[in-house]
Symmetry: C2
Subunit: 541 residues, 2 copies
């Protein structure tokens, strides 16, 4: 059959061209990633303006290449080719995902992209000043501008999203009605940028169920905590605020990171003002943290968190580098990896069975008189507070649920920007029982909205939910995981995550990926069960 052979060869050539273009775009993006990492770690202060010019040029080059009409042509042909016919193949997944990316990029007018870049850059500067002065009034017009642009962005992406959902919801029999939830709110296209396929309506149900269990649980812990403190038996978090020399923290953190499986031949750990992790490319994954010589846990759990992100990046399939099959699937799944290593592993008794004796030798001055139980109580202390990034793993999700509700209301306009501070404070009083005394510790605390990151917050809680489900399933699949941790061995768990999550890249949607890994739909109950198990014991609730 010479005809079909030559047709197949032609399709393969087109597929290779598509992937080659995708790889070029990825490599170009990875150059920006190096510059971004450098900006946060080593760049001299005086280079800021020039760095902006460099990143803008690279972003422009990327945008031009990502929206070339040739990409659209290749996708149109390949979607109807035999390569795409085998829906379960990695090639078909790559075509699907590149179509997804292409449609979104080409739907945004260049003017809007540039206005967003410019306005959010200025708004972030204004936010820094506004937070410093706790001056919401000066930030308000900037937030209004950002919101207006994000509404436009949502509108541009709306049609594509609805079309995709209709296609996905297409009934098996043509005469059936399509499923009813193919529509989309103004929030959906923004959320979908960070968590592809996530639907606002489903998240609302999921988060409501979580809140109904979590809020009373937090109240119970707070109550138990107060009683203990009244008896003089409160948790001594002050043991974490002793002398922890920075060089030793660095050494200890790197030792733990290496033990979890982070490969320092293919990665680094540096210092930056705001901790992050960036996967630059194969063999190049860089995490950062910040050290305080009088505080142990921020840096250490920060390292475990960022290294959790890094392990995901290091586990992506190298042979798919440059194609969607070689990329992380969503922010929620990314966060599930960081939270799993930070909290489920790093704050567990089995982990510290192995590491605490070492910590006592490394930080002799600070820990010589501290028993393991007191240390575990301190690193797992629960207390409703005002600041999200300092929150413990139990109260953390309430901070997110507040933001999830408020940012939807801001986008629809149901909540006027002027009313944000009072709405914020009311929510905190209601859900956490604490009230900000000023906007710096209230609605000005996070950078996200000034940066245009609407729809981003829920991925933190999705990450926590995914992490709990994954860790529950890993323990079921790998009996003796606790014993392994106690021996300082983490490779079994990492291999399991590599197999269930990392190696798949963007082959499946986030929901499909998690459901395939755990064999169940996304659910809030595994998280609540694990919190009840651990904190029930610690606080006697």
């Amino acid at each position: 059959m010479p005809t079909s052979t030559s047709k197949a060869a032609k399709e393969t050539a087109l597929y290779d061209e598509l992937i080659g273009r995708s790889r070029e775009l990825t490599v170009l993006g990875s150059c920006s990633a190096v510059l971004g990492w450098d900006e946060q770690t080593y760049m001299p202060a005086g280079a800021a303006a020039h760095r902006g010019e460099q990143l803008a040029l690279l972003a422009g080059l990327q945008h031009d290449r990502a929206t070339e009409s040739r990409l659209g042509e290749l996708l149109s042909v390949l979607e109807n080719s035999s390569i795409a016919a085998d829906r379960d193949s990695i090639e078909a997944a790559n075509i699907r995902q590149l179509r997804r990316d292409y449609d979104r990029r080409t739907k945004l007018p260049r003017g809007l992209v540039e206005a967003l870049a410019r306005t959010t850059s200025l708004a972030q500067q204004e936010w820094i000043t506004a937070r410093k002065n706790s001056d919401f009034a000066s930030f308000r017009p900037w937030l209004e501008q950002v919101l207006e642009l994000k509404r436009q962005e949502s509108q541009c992406l709306h049609e594509t999203l609805v079309k995709e959902r209709r296609a996905a919801a297409k009934p098996a029999h043509p005469e059936d009605e399509p499923k009813p939830d193919a529509g989309a709110t103004i929030y959906d296209p923004l959320l979908d940028q960070y968590e592809p396929g996530a639907e606002t309506s489903r998240l609302r149900i999921l988060f409501k169920a979580l809140r109904e269990e979590l809020a009373p649980f937090v109240r119970d812990i707070a109550e138990a905590s107060r009683k203990r403190e009244a008896r003089g038996e409160g948790v001594k978090t002050s043991i974490l605020e002793r002398s922890y020399p920075v060089e030793r923290q660095k050494m200890f953190g790197e030792a733990a990171a290496a033990a979890l499986g982070f490969d320092f031949q293919r990665g680094r750990l540096d210092v930056s003002a705001h901790p992050f992790c960036t996967g630059i490319g194969p063999g190049d994954v860089r995490a950062t943290t910040r050290f305080d010589a009088r505080q142990f846990s921020d840096a250490f759990f920060g390292v475990l968190h960022e290294v959790g992100h890094g392990l995901y990046e290091q586990g992506l399939p190298v042979e798919q580098y440059g194609a969607p099959g070689g990329e992380a699937v969503s922010l929620g799944v990314h966060e599930s990896q960081s939270r799993l290593w930070e909290n489920a592993v790093g704050r567990s008794r089995p982990f510290w069975n192995y590491w605490f004796p070492i910590a006592r030798r490394v930080f002799q001055d600070a820990l010589h008189d501290v028993p393991l139980d007191a240390f575990l109580a301190a690193v797992n202390h629960v207390e409703p507070t005002l600041i999200r990034v300092q929150a413990d793993e139990v109260t953390y999700n309430l901070h997110i649920l507040i933001r999830f509700e408020l940012e939807q209301a801001l986008l629809t306009g149901d909540l006027p920007v002027a009313d944000l501070p009072s709405a914020w404070n009311a929510k905190y009083a209601e859900m956490l029982g604490v009230t900000p005394t000023n906007d710096a510790e209230g609605c000005l605390q996070d950078i996200h909205w000034s940066a245009g990151l609407f729809g981003y917050f829920p991925t933190y809680t999705l990450g926590n939910l995914y992490a709990a489900q994954l860790f529950h399933k890993a323990n079921a699949d790998l009996p003796g995981l606790d014993d392994a941790f106690t021996r300082g061995e983490f490779s079994e768990l990492l291999a399991w995550l590599r197999d269930k999550i990392h190696r798949h890249g963007r082959r499946y949607t986030p929901t499909e990926l998690i459901e395939r890994a755990v064999g169940e739909p996304i659910d809030h109950r595994p998280l609540m069960a694990s919190l009840r198990h651990k904190y029930g014991a610690l606080y006697g609730v």
Copy 2:
């Protein structure tokens, strides 16, 4: 005159487009510079292959943009515009220099550029192995391949160079004969890439004159040195090989760099295996060094040297950034800045009048029993040796003169590659009185030829010649410079260099720039005079 106004406005718009394109190219190149710096300083080992892919992509993008026909169109129009008519203006200089760059880039076929990149990349790997094993035979075929490609490169650039020289040599009266030296040897187009406008024939005359004075002077010093040693009065260089803790070396080096005027708000000093300095862009100039806790002078003078390069980069006019007017003019002039600060300033008695008391406090264990005179003798010790990068400032130029002769003979074919080791050894015996015992310390010692850098070596000696002339003139213009150094003040000298060299970018040719600064033609005598003055006193010759 609406017509001429609108013509001027049109020309201005075209000029702005030209400079805008030049700036984009410069910014793109500066992204590669960040990646190159990172590769040498912090990049994890496992990222090497990916870094190669990143740099190749950026280089390809740069090449495409640098050879776009629109650039040629703009240059053709602007060369005949009123903007270019005022030859002394910075705008006219920018047009001239962009024409120069464009002609050279477009004359090289893409196949040759790629073959050179590929072959020199492989040849450098082979060179590393060959040097380690002192195995010239294994490197020989690679050197032959590189030479063949460089001959082709020279041929491609030959016509452009001859045309430029003819134009420059055009007699004032059309009936006169053009000057005779408008031709070019095979070496000229390669040399011209690093030192624009330099001519092989003139360099031969200049270097011959230098050699005739320098070789006997080196012999006299060596003789005097032998006699002193026989009397037990030899220079004690061992005082530089005592305990010099790395952290203290870093602190001391940074203090000296800052005192010379290096702005750490707009620059950095890091560690790399091979010291270098890279000007990434406005506000971002990065030098590196390497430390050895048992050796003082390599790192310290390495810092002064690289910081000398850095001061030039920090002194380029920011308002011309992206245009030739904002770029360093040549490797020779660049080297003149590093050598001036390293040798003329950094190895002088006035410099150490101020810094030695500080050094004695910082390196108490090493220097407590060392008088200033012994220290000055040690950091200025002259001894003919085999390795260029370890050579003192007197013998250094003989190493260069050897390479200058040999690389011309290699290119013309007068010296077959197979005969290089014996020719090398003969030259060292003749000019320095030392003979390599193997090729690792002979003709395999430098990376340059494996990297295709033919025509590069002479810029080191040009740098030394320029530096001596500049320093001589600076002392004439600024009486009391020695006293200022003794007080630890270097800003007067830096301001003079900023005014005479840095602020001009590529406005003039290197020769014009130096001649304007010192008021005399390039000459070997100021260097010889300064060497005789300093080393005559030290060695009594």
